[in-house]
């Protein structure tokens, strides 16, 4: 939950393959992975998201520690220490039965608008992309 493990793994696996090719195959995976982990830039900036327990709605963690529906009001985090603190607080809110499914997600910020990097998270933020979600009843 804290790491985007898939991202780390796919990046390191790729690097590893390249290195292995370059060195003719004679390298040790574990040490390479550790080296790569240290080098992999943490994807930043990030925000914290969850689903509210009572209604399941998608919510984001604001700097005040409250959970809000408006993604633009989310606290945009770009240092590791701050993130650790925010994640600990968020997990506290899971224990307090306020939210479920906490995740830290990568975003970009432009003109004051926060946009998640992954499509899945954009769909969570902005709703289904199906043609008309609140179908008007047309004859």
């Amino acid at each position: 939950m804290k790491w985007q493990w898939q991202d780390v793994f796919s990046a390191t696996a790729l690097l590893f393959e390249k290195l292995k090719q370059a060195l003719g195959g004679a390298i040790d995976y574990v040490s390479v992975r550790i080296a790569c982990l240290a080098d992999t830039p943490v994807p930043m900036p990030e925000i914290l998201t969850a689903n509210r327990l009572s209604d399941g709605d998608v919510v984001y963690r604001a700097a005040s520690g409250t959970w809000v529906a408006d993604i633009d009001a989310a606290e945009v985090i770009d240092d590791a220490e701050r993130r650790t603190a925010a994640e600990a607080a968020a997990l506290g809110d899971v224990s307090a039965s306020l939210v479920v499914e906490v995740a830290t997600i990568a975003v970009s910020v432009a003109d004051g608008h926060v946009v998640p990097k992954r499509l899945r998270e954009r769909i969570r933020a902005f709703g289904p992309t199906v043609k008309s979600d609140h179908r008007p009843v047309t004859a």
């Binding site: 796919s10 689903n51 327990l53 009572s54 209604d55 399941g56 709605d57 998608v58 899971v94 224990s95 307090a96 039965s97 479920v100 499914e101 992954r118 499509l119 899945r120 769909i123 969570r124 709703g127 289904p128 992309t129 199906v130 043609k131 979600d133 609140h134 179908r135 009843v137 047309t138 004859a139």
Partner: protein, 551 residues
């Protein structure tokens, strides 16, 4: 129509009040999510991307007008005004709040509905041919047996914690409209030499990441023995099925790894021990259940309807509708009518509250208040007089429900995909909408003829892509949506799993790719009567591959 007996009613009421209590404790923080999750799943409540989702069972897809009105009411009051009918003949609500679920469940219980056995490693809602009890070609109505299986399997202590979920489907006709060969157990009602009822038993079908066609385990099991026989299968599975790996835990893997002959031996051994015991099915019990499924009393009518013929001659749209959406009924002068939930460019399987109410009213006025949900995500009026088709058509058109495309290329099955589903890799519904628009012109659909497109947003295959004539599977390629096309899948008695035709396509490219396949078919077919599936089976994949990727 089947009505709950007292046991069911009491049980469901108890379950609702238990769950209400559990929800309350969860909301107060007295139980954790880890403790609560299995409880909510047992009551049909999932957490998706945007909200909770409630899956409501519609046993063998049969609904009354009263029940449909209640679903409409729930859609309006607790959801965003619509519901989504699924390939498991169920309905899903995509937006209920957890705190409202107990109220929803008690409203459902009032009309004898619930969400039990819609989730978890139990025997799931038993599905059946949507034309059951009405189709001209059936040996008998499969639903009494689906119901007997339901009663036997409901909360069966021995089978509530199976290695994996377990799905059973029953058809009454040789022409399989219930995809029984894609279920863990598939049953076909048959008549023996003496006219007595029995069942062909298929086992080990399934979709998901390892699609397999079921194998025939027994050609004819007499009615009296069927419960014991199915029980024997479950026992063997429960004993030998793999629990070490959830992807290998379905009975299809057992069939594959053990071999059908050895499995048959194991089942027969087990069967010999329990046969004739408490699981015998006395004729009186069958008769009692069958009475619930008595068909409505239909007026004797002549085989053709002058009223309908005259209306068809006058109205080309009705003519097209009647050609496409009517299915031959047992009783002459009657028909089963498909109400397509696939408007051109729309969302497969969605119906608004108003549309559900319109269907309930139409069924009440003209069709004995009986409605079916098909695994193709459409609704059916199983018993309708041909004379009433023009009036029903007008009423459907007024509700935006007169799309004439049952079985046509725009009758697309699609799972919720990345727009709703937490497990998805890629979106399904927008693809379905675009394909439906691409092929939506009536002349184009008529030119193409029967062709099914089925779309899943991940390998779980909720959208049946393995058995689409053209199947589309969404995958994730480096964070981008990507789609694999497979050809030649088919769910009926000549079931086959589609073969991936080659490298996948981007979301933009896949629509054109499907059209390329369709155009290749039209060019290659022996005559306009040769369907896509027939042409593909005759020609193999090569010419389609060439059309898509060049020589």
């Amino acid at each position: 129509m089947y009505r709950y007996d007292e046991f069911d009613a009491t049980f469901v009421r108890q379950r609702v009040s238990q769950f209400a209590d559990q929800v309350e404790r969860r909301l107060k923080g007295e139980i954790t999510e880890d403790e609560f999750k299995p409880l909510r799943l047992m009551n049909g409540v999932y957490l998706q991307l945007h909200a909770y989702m409630l899956r409501v069972a519609i046993p063998y897809g049969t609904l009354s007008s009263t029940q449909m009105r209640r679903l409409a009411h729930i859609a309006r009051v607790y959801d965003k005004g619509y519901g989504h009918f699924t390939t498991r003949q169920n309905i899903q609500f995509n937006w209920p709040a957890l705190k409202d679920v107990p109220s929803i469940l008690s409203e459902l219980a009032e009309v004898e509905m619930h969400a039990i056995q819609t989730s978890g490693n139990c025997i799931r809602n038993v599905t059946a041919d949507h034309f059951a009890g009405a189709a001209f070609d059936e040996a008998d109505d499969p639903r009494p047996y689906a119901e007997i299986l339901r009663q036997w399997s409901s909360l069966h202590p021995e089978f509530s914690f199976l290695p994996r979920k377990f799905k059973i489907a029953v058809t009454g006709a040789g022409h399989d409209r219930a995809a029984i060969r894609l279920h863990d157990i598939g049953l076909e009602v048959k008549r023996g030499k003496d006219g007595g009822i029995g069942f062909a038993v298929y086992v080990g079908g399934g979709q998901g990441r390892t699609p397999m066609i079921a194998r025939e385990l027994a050609a004819f099991v007499p009615e009296a023995d069927i419960l014991a026989y199915v029980d024997a299968i479950l026992r063997v599975y429960n004993l030998f099925g793999r629990r070490d790996n959830k992807y290998k835990a379905r009975i299809k893997i057992l069939v594959h790894e053990t071999g059908i002959d050895e499995l048959r031996q194991l089942v027969e051994d087990e069967f010999r021990q329990i046969r004739g015991g408490v699981l015998g099915l006395p004729a009186e019990e069958v008769a009692r259940i069958r009475a619930y499924f008595e068909p409505p009393t239909l007026t004797t009518r002549s085989g053709t309807s002058a009223t309908l013929e005259a209306a068809r001659a006058e109205n080309p749209a009705l003519d097209r509708f009647a050609r496409q959406n009517l299915h031959r009924h047992k009783a002459q002068g009657h028909t089963s009518l498909t109400i397509s939930l696939k408007p051109i460019g729309g969302i497969p399987g969605d119906a608004s509250a108003e549309q559900m109410e319109a269907v309930a009213d139409i069924a009440e006025r003209w069709a004995f208040s009986e409605i079916r949900v098909s695994h193709e995500q459409n609704l059916i009026l199983p018993h309708l007089a041909l004379d009433d088709v023009p009036a029903v058509y007008e009423a459907l058109a007024a509700a935006g429900l007169a799309t004439a495309n049952a079985g046509a290329i725009t009758d697309i099955i699609a799972c919720p995909g990345l727009d709703y589903c937490a497990l998805a890799n890629a979106r399904s519904i927008p693809l379905a909408s675009q394909l439906s628009e691409r092929f939506g012109a009536p002349e184009r659909q008529d030119e193409i003829g029967p062709l099914s497109i089925k779309i899943s947003g991940c390998i779980n295959a909720c959208g049946h892509h393995h058995v689409g004539h053209i199947g589309i599977l969404g995958v994730d390629r480096k964070g981008e949506e990507f789609y694999q096309i497979s050809l030649g899948g088919n769910p009926d008695e000549s079931a086959s799993i589609g073969q991936i035709i080659g490298p996948g396509f981007s979301a933009e490219g896949v629509i054109d790719a499907v059209e390329t396949v369709v155009d290749a078919y039209i060019k290659l077919r022996a005559s306009p009567d040769e369907t896509f599936l027939a042409a593909y089976r005759r020609l193999g994949e090569a010419p389609f591959k060439e059309a898509l990727y060049g020589a």
